[in-house]
């Protein structure tokens, strides 16, 4: 039942926060915070009730005639990602503490509802249930962007919605077809993941279905050339929205590839791997160079996500132990480093009322703490050894090299490109002569320092002593690789 509570806590917390906000906005903030801390506590309590390969499992009938079940299960992979969800959720609430002043209750309702969807996606083992949670993430995130976003929020929100919904439609068709084909084979109506793994598909069909799944997840990831919703959505979203988008929503795409695409369609995936890896490398280089070209600070960080997630796509299709551990580490570290950069950008925007790097400069003098912290996350982002991103990227490269040396070598060029944008950020914002925007803005407040401190500690931990993460995730990855019968 732990798993049900993991889904229910953010849902109930969100509803409660909305209701309580009528009394005072502070209530909404505190309730959200308490709910997410409860989620975290629940996760850290030793989980029981699982058997075999799952840490915990719940399997209840939902709509029996249609073969839909409420089937949730958690392994090491889901555990690590839900942990990231809870931590980033807490940090997003803290980061929006003073930023969000309008409709505070509704904001937290949407934020927690998105998190509910994310948690559900990481747990669902019934394909329709998965689809349900997949769509659940989408609507509240749309509201977060369209209500609390910046100048071009309507455009960005609709674009986000259309891209994700387009992918979602393909996903739904693929799921229904898969189930239908299984029904023709065995006369059983089911959407259960573990059952559907046993399906036999003809080569042409499995490629088509695989593409249906793949495109949905590649849009979310995002892989080049499906990435263009991301810079707009990230840039226009409020800080918490950007953090959740970059830190969590993108990871659901990677999770989908790991959990569904390759295990369900192993043969098609093997043939498709070179294309997917090519997309990954393209993302690494293209994302980084476009990040370097931006003048809007938030867009720069957004494009850097495209680059980082390119490593994830590359590693998933390298499909070996080193690369997959690298993928998970890259997801966690990217959640922290990019999330932190979005929070810092949000803090800057709150103070300077602009994201245009042309209007910034020399801020080190007035905000030395914010600057020194931004330097930390910038160098984490460019893959400095000793911090989490490096471990993730290096493992992906190491795992890729033994399969496809050329792709690994091309991806290594991303090291240069990431240095370009990360140092450009520091240069434009913090170095140079002080620009005269609005006197001397105040430095980071203790609340922000606390948030940043946690994220920095996390990255140092991932970078210096990542073994606990690997140990926790390894059984989950073994699980997945066992399902996918790939040599």
């Amino acid at each position: 039942m732990t798993l049900v509570w993991l889904v229910l806590i953010p849902l109930l917390g969100g509803c409660l926060a909305w209701l309580a906000a009528r009394r005072s906005p502070a209530w909404a903030r505190w309730i959200s915070l308490v709910a997410l801390f409860a989620e975290l506590a629940l996760l850290l309590v030793p989980v029981t009730g699982g058997h075999g390969r799952w840490l915990a499992e719940v399997d209840l009938p939902w709509a029996p005639p249609l073969g839909i079940r409420f089937h949730l299960a958690m392994d090491g992979l889901s555990f690590a990602l839900i942990l990231l969800t809870a931590v980033l959720g807490i940090l997003s609430v803290l980061a929006s503490w003073t930023e969000i002043t309008e409709k505070v209750g509704f904001f937290h309702f949407n934020l927690l509802l998105t998190l509910t969807g994310v948690v559900g996606v990481f747990l669902a083992l019934d394909l329709l249930l998965f689809f349900f949670f997949w769509e659940l993430m989408l609507i509240p995130m749309y509201f977060l962007i369209v209500v609390w976003g910046h100048e071009r929020r309507v455009y960005a929100a609709i674009k986000f919605f259309l891209f994700t919904q387009g992918g979602g439609l393909l996903l739904l068709i693929a799921i229904l077809t898969l189930s239908f084909l299984y029904f023709r084979q065995s006369h059983v109506v089911t959407f259960d993941y573990l059952t559907l793994l046993k399906i036999h598909l003809s080569p042409g069909t499995d490629t088509l279905l695989m593409l249906g799944f793949f495109i949905a997840f590649a849009v979310k990831l995002p892989a080049v050339p499906f990435h263009t919703w991301l810079p707009d959505a990230h840039t226009e979203a409020p800080t918490a929205g950007s953090v959740v988008l970059a830190g969590l929503l993108l990871k659901t795409g990677a999770y989908g590839l790991l959990r569904f695409v390759i295990p369900l369609f192993p043969d098609a995936s093997v043939h498709f791997a070179p294309f997917a890896m090519g997309m990954g490398v393209a993302g690494i280089i293209y994302g980084a160079t476009l990040a370097f070209a931006q003048t809007d600070l938030k867009r720069l960080v957004a494009y850097s996500s495209v680059s980082h997630l390119g490593f994830v796509l590359l590693g998933i299709y390298a499909w070996n132990g080193l690369a997959l551990q690298g993928v998970v580490m890259q997801m966690l570290a990217h959640g922290l480093s990019t999330g932190a950069l979005f929070i810092l950008v949000g803090a800057l925007q709150e103070r300077l009322k602009t994201r245009d790097m042309g209007k910034m400069g020399g801020l080190w003098t007035s905000m030395p703490r914010l600057a020194a912290i931004a330097m930390f996350f910038a160098v984490a982002s460019l893959g400095l050894p000793g911090l989490g991103d490096f471990v993730g990227e290096f493992l992906v490269l190491l795992g890729t090299y033994r399969i496809a040396p050329a792709f690994a070598a091309a991806a290594a060029a991303g090291l240069v490109a990431s240095a370009l944008y990360a140092l450009l950020l520091i240069q434009r914002v913090f170095h140079g002569p002080p620009s005269g925007t609005g006197g001397a803005p105040p430095d980071l407040a203790p609340r922000h320092l606390f948030v940043m401190g946690i994220m920095m500690a996390g990255l140092v931990w991932f970078g210096m002593a990542p073994q606990p993460v690997f140990d926790a995730v390894a059984p989950g990855l073994d699980n997945i690789t066992a399902f996918a019968r790939i040599p």
């Binding site: 674009k159 263009t228 070209a293 000793g386 070598a409």
Partner: protein, 617 residues
């Protein structure tokens, strides 16, 4: 003596200074910043004593980093004679530079930021030279790069400094990316990052000249070229002068640029297995030392003269490595650390006391006004120019030139020509800055924390070479014997040595003479001012146009492409799709006019078409 303490102390210094972020009093910052490196230096001495006392076994300590399916890099430290030389150089020269900085930077607002970065720099360099595996070495390697970025851009309000800092980082990162691929190749083929294991397996599995060995050596060389500022990635170093002068001393003498030399010496087995790459190392070294020497001849900025001289001297080290004179390369690394630190620090005194003036032609006559700086700079210059017998630089450079000569007269000749040019460019600076009439009055007297490092380094720049006397002078090769346990000794070439020693001694003296004639006696003025000579001089002074070429061929096209694509060309597909949908919507909604006649006509036309289709198919 625990090895990890060596980098741990400066690292701790960095952490304290970073986290307190300037809230400590100045004295405390100084105590932490200078003290941490000082204690490391003392520890290094104790470790050296232990090592020399005969504990032959290399000290070995390690913590696990991660373990994944056989991939188990660790934070492992290992000491042998090569790393012992390196840690002594890094901690001692590093400490003297820190001590000097305590006074030099005293008036600067970013005192804590400065010492935090300097401490991290030393810590990263110590990790680099003590790491027992290539991945941990890479941690130090990148750390050094980061610190150089932080310190070159230390005076951040000036955008040019930030640009120089980014240039240093990005250019060296090009090398690092190659090195990363090299690491991937090595691990994938040999199954380990542990340096001893990798070297042993490479010897067993890779026949000499095999593709894998050549590729691995060449890729690592890429990294070394970047960090050590060799052709064609040397362009970042002259601009790195943007940092405070003690930073230049640290980058040029104790850390950073020597990393590439160390890496090649450390992985020398790979280079023995890859003769073409080894030859490339020698050729790059020879070319770099000449190119940089010619550039140094034409500079006006005293720090740029020293910067080009560093590129050139590292070129000598590469030349030594390339001809298999491993110990000679490391020997020159050590003596170079002494005299180059000395030169930068004494130049710093001059610059500081002359109101930040760096143009040698606006200085002059400082001989009497600042005797300490004069004597220090003179001793440093003599050592750099390798004046015979009395300087450390003579012994190390002579060893390299002799080894190069034995290998090929071309390489040896390049070394001799370089020695001649070196003597000219550095003594040109000496004569112009310190000779002639007095021009300005210096301000601020020099304190003890500046004087002590200058005196100690002056002594080292003289006696540092006596650990390895050439056989022609009746000495014994203590230093290369000591390193012989780690690095194979150079091929015997006793006959050639005496002649080369004599030649290089005479050439260095001749160079000083030429510098005197040009700078003091103003000989050759008409020839040097002739238009062709001026043109060539200009070309050399801008570093042979490398920057210009990179700017036109790489940077500008790249930026142009990016500026065209700022809006992301991929998005135009989706925008077009949206526009297409909107157009269709307009067309169709245009048909909904509300006029019954149109609708009736539409229904009729549709029916006719439908009937036509059913009839004719």
């Amino acid at each position: 003596m625990p090895l990890p303490l060596l980098p741990a102390l400066p690292l701790l210094g960095f952490v304290i200074l970073y986290l307190t972020a300037g809230r400590l009093p100045k004295r405390a910052i100084e105590a932490i910043g200078v003290g941490s490196v000082g204690i490391s230096a003392v520890l290094a001495l104790l470790i050296a004593a232990d090592f020399l006392r005969g504990s032959e076994m290399p000290v070995d300590t390690a913590w696990p980093w991660m373990t994944l399916a056989g991939f188990a890099p660790r934070f492992g430290f290992r000491l042998d004679s090569l790393s012992l030389v390196m840690i002594l150089v890094v901690t001692f020269v590093g400490f003297l530079i820190h001590l000097y900085s305590a006074e030099y930077m005293a008036a600067d607002e970013g005192y804590d930021r400065f010492f935090a970065s300097m401490n991290l720099f030393v810590a990263a360099m110590l990790v680099l030279v003590l790491a027992d595996n290539l991945l941990f070495l890479y941690v130090g390697w990148e750390g050094v790069g980061l610190c150089s970025y932080l310190l070159i851009g230390f005076w951040y309000p000036n955008s040019a400094n930030g640009l120089a800092a980014r240039k240093a980082f990005v250019v060296t990162r090009v090398g690092d990316a190659l090195m990363t691929v090299g690491l991937l190749l090595i691990y994938t083929r040999l199954g380990s990052f542990d340096i001893q294991t990798v070297m042993a397996r490479a010897q067993q599995q890779w026949p000499p000249g095999s593709l894998a060995a050549v590729a691995a050596a060449a890729l690592l060389l890429g990294g070394a070229i970047g960090k050590s500022a060799q052709l064609p990635l040397q362009t970042w170093l002259p601009d790195a002068m943007a940092g405070p002068t003690p930073v230049s001393a640290l980058i040029h003498a104790a850390t950073m640029v020597t990393a590439g030399v160390y890496l090649i010496a450390r992985t020398h087995v790979l280079y023995e297995l890859a003769p073409p790459v080894k030859l490339a190392v020698a050729a790059i070294g020879a070319a770099t030392l000449l190119v940089a020497s010619f550039s140094a001849l034409t500079q006006r900025d005293i720090k740029r003269i020293l910067a080009y001289s560093t590129i050139s001297q590292i070129g000598y080290m590469f030349l030594a490595l390339g001809v298999g004179a491993w110990a000679a390369g490391i020997f020159h690394l050590m003596t170079h650390a002494f005299f180059k630190a000395l030169l930068f620090l004494s130049a710093g005194v001059v610059i500081h006391r002359m109101h930040e003036e760096q143009d040698i032609f606006r200085l002059g006559g400082l001989r009497r006004q600042m005797p300490l700086a004069f004597w220090s700079f003179l001793i440093g210059s003599a050592s750099l120019a390798a004046l015979p017998v009395v300087t450390a630089g003579f012994y190390s450079k002579d060893l390299i030139v002799a080894a190069a000569w034995a290998d090929s007269p071309w390489l040896g000749g390049a070394g001799l020509l370089g020695a001649f040019l070196t003597a000219i460019y550095i003594f040109r600076a000496v004569f112009i800055v310190f000779g002639g009439p007095e021009r300005h009055k210096p301000h601020r007297p020099t304190g003890r924390r500046i004087a002590v490092p200058l005196i100690v380094l002056s002594i080292l720049a003289v006696v540092g070479g006596f650990v390895q006397l050439p056989s022609a002078l009746g000495g014994s090769p203590l230093f290369s014997d000591f390193l012989g346990k780690t690095l194979p000794s150079a091929p015997a070439r006793a006959e050639a040595e005496a002649g080369v020693t004599l030649a290089s001694a005479l050439i260095a003296l001749a160079g000083v003479g030429v510098a005197y004639l040009i700078a003091v006696r103003h000989w050759f003025t008409t020839a040097l001012n002739a238009p062709p000579a001026r043109l060539v001089g200009y070309w050399w002074s801008i570093g042979w146009g490398f920057d210009l070429a990179y700017d036109r061929l790489l940077v500008r096209p790249f930026l142009w492409l990016l500026s065209r694509n700022r809006a992301d060309v991929v998005d135009s597909f989706y925008t077009a799709l949206a526009a297409f949908c909107r157009q269709i919507y307009r067309l169709l909604s245009g048909s909904q006019t509300g006029r019954l006649r149109w609708y009736a006509a539409g229904i009729a036309a549709g029916s006719i078409v439908a009937i036509a289709i059913s009839v004719f198919t």
